[in-house]
Amino acid sequence: MLTINNLHVSIEEEQKEILKGLNLEVKPGEVHAIMGPNGSGKSTLASVLAGRDGYEVTEGSVTFDGEDLLELEADERAREGLFLAFQYPVELPGVSMANFLKQAVNSVREHRGQDVLSAGDFLKLMKEKAAIVSLDPSLKARAVNEGFSGGEKKRSEIFQLALLDPKLAILDETDSGLDIDALRIVADGVNGLRNENRSFVLITHYQRLLDYIVPDFVHVLVDGRIVLSGGKELALQLEEKGYDWIKDEQTQTA
């Protein structure tokens, strides 16, 4: 599904290298968790995969479903089935949720050779998917993310995930800012969306999310590289010991 090979990424403007040779292989249906200290490059990885401008890939490759991902524009990647749930969803005053979602769903459907949805079918789809994360229906009548609470923004991201039905979803700290009940709801929503074809990359700081969404693999990203990978137990270990022991080991092996 996704193969990242020796990925080096710099910020275009600053010539500062953020990702320093990252490798990751995600197979269909797998759930991978990526943990790591603040500033280690997790969101940068998510942004580069989703195709945000401003990054320069200086080395390495990313293959998505057999295609060179880095050759595609951001919107093409989304239509090909890559979804990013943003750590900080952007507020779009004046852009109605309804219009935004309709355009998003229809661009993706069109790309897949599906019919454009009628107004009625679209409403039905919205209703069905909003229920997955118990999204307050009145939010759909508002401007995109505008004035949404932190938790509502995160739920809305998962709602969009459900609507767009991607092959690979990258969730960047979708759990932060959620209260305990909401975390459960969102996690249940994600679990409901798991299947043998759809893969997930969960970026998180908290082991708790992984109690609900049990990952197949846990990776630790430190200073632009994945320095340790393991099963779900690794998350527990990190929760207990923090990152310093890994960093120490790193300096010892270096």
Partner: protein, 430 residues
């Protein structure tokens, strides 16, 4: 000979002919305006107020008051909106309005007819909102206007339907300089909508003077939609005078024209006035759109709200200058101004300048002027959902522009504007 002298010769020639048989106060006002125009002169390239807008150069190309030539038939809009509709030629009514055809308390007539009839004391109203020394173009228009339109609502009367002026036909040559006077007497209310249709490749030059008076407790709601073609020039001098407890709202939407200058001037001259001035412009190609606003807070306890937005692309130029003056005795003023522009092209330019002059100490004033490109984060968010760049751009531009249109309170006109924005911006975004 200088342009000013040539124009003045023409004006005085006409006034001399007029004086012989009328000698009325209106003619005196025209004399006075001519005098003011003579001493002001057309703004030179060194003029601060016209620094970015070389309007005088455009006058040179026309240089005649004679607009008796060919008329351009422009494209009308919202003709089926419920309202009281009038069509104009060179800013004047095409025929006199039959008595009894209007709601009670509403008068719509030519200025000259109203003057002759003398039922409404025009001398009390004319030049009340307008100071001839304020702006050379307005004084030129006031001096030149042979006639104009009066819209008058009697005290205590509310006219529910909007009065809609379709400025449908306009001369292809010469300066078109009409005068429009709107008077809402005490505790009355009225809505006035004006549409300037697309003049195609015709080169209409309109320099008009509009005076609006909202008397004690009255409410005036005004909208201008300007959609002339790229060869057209427009100098729109709006002069607003408000008495206490009055409400005035105007929305100036500029979607067309080659060179447009809106001079919008507000004098809330009584306590507890509310003034709303909003505007939107989309400048493309080689268009040049300049909005100059001036709110002169002379009396305490008033509120003004200003929102201007612009989208500038290609090689077009957008200018915004918003001045707010709070005079020393004008305590407890709330004055808000916001100007936001989006620049879509490196070759396009925007000059935006707020100017606050505050001499009273107990006031709340705020202003913000932003000029920028479309927000990259917003574009990325949309694209990350599969939306193509052109569609994403269009969504953001429409959202940006719609806020101003949202303030229009006649639904059918609002819908017309939404669809116009959609088609203009679709072109811009692709």
């Amino acid at each position: 000979m200088q342009i000013e002298s040539r124009l003045l010769v023409e004006i005085r020639d006409r006034l001399a002919r007029l004086d012989a048989n009328s000698g009325n106060g209106w003619a005196n006002g025209r004399e006075e305006a001519a005098g003011a125009f003579e001493s002001l002169g057309l703004p030179s390239t060194r003029s601060e107020a016209y620094k970015y807008t070389q309007m005088t150069k455009r006058v040179k190309d026309v240089l005649s008051l004679d607009n008796a030539g060919t008329l351009i038939d422009t494209t009308s809009a919202f003709t089926d909106v419920p309202g009281i509709h009038f069509s104009t030629v060179n800013g004047l009514l095409t025929e006199s309005v039959a008595a009894g055809s209007l709601p009670k308390g509403l008068t719509v007539s030519s200025l000259s007819e109203a003057y002759a009839e003398n039922r409404i004391a025009l001398d009390d109203h004319l030049a009340r909102a307008f100071d001839p020394d304020r702006d050379a173009f307005s004084s030129l228009a006031a001096a030149s206007a042979e006639d104009g339109i009066l819209i008058h609502v009697a005290a205590g009367v509310s006219i529910a339907q909007p009065v809609i002026l379709h400025h449908d036909r306009v001369a292809n040559s010469g300066l078109v300089q009409p005068r429009l006077l709107v008077v809402a007497e005490g505790d009355s209310s009225i809505k006035v909508i004006e549409h300037f249709g697309d003049s195609g490749s015709g080169s209409a030059f309109e320099n008009r003077i509009v005076e609006m008076i909202s008397a004690t407790g009255a409410s005036v709601d005004h909208l201008v939609v300007y959609e002339r073609g790229r060869e057209a020039t427009f100098v729109n001098g709006l002069h607003v005078y408000q008495e206490e407890r009055s409400h005035f709202a105007t929305n100036t939407i500029t979607l067309g024209g080659g060179m447009v200058r809106n001079n919008l001037h507000f004098l809330p001259d009584g306590e507890e006035c509310e003034t709303h001035l909003n505007g939107l412009y989309i400048a493309k190609g080689s268009m040049h759109v300049d909005n100059h606003t001036f709110v002169d807070h002379a009396k305490p306890n008033c509120e003004s709200n200003e929102l201007f937005k612009g989208i500038v692309t290609d090689k077009a130029v957008g200018v915004f200058n918003g001045k707010i003056l709070v005079r020393q005795d004008a305590q407890k003023i709330n004055a808000y101004q916001s100007s936001k522009s989006i620049l879509l092209d490196r070759a396009a330019s925007i000059y935006a300048k707020p100017e606050l002059e505050i001499y009273a100490d107990d006031v709340k004033c705020s202003h913000g002027a932003t000029t920028g490109e479309l927000d990259d984060d917003a574009l990325f968010y949309l694209r990350a959902r599969g939306i193509r760049p052109e569609a994403a751009k269009l969504m953001l531009l429409e959202a940006f522009a719609r806020d101003v249109v949202d303030l229009v309170d006649v639904d059918a006109v609002k819908d017309y504007l939404y669809s116009r924005l959609h088609s203009i911006l679709t072109e811009t975004a692709s």
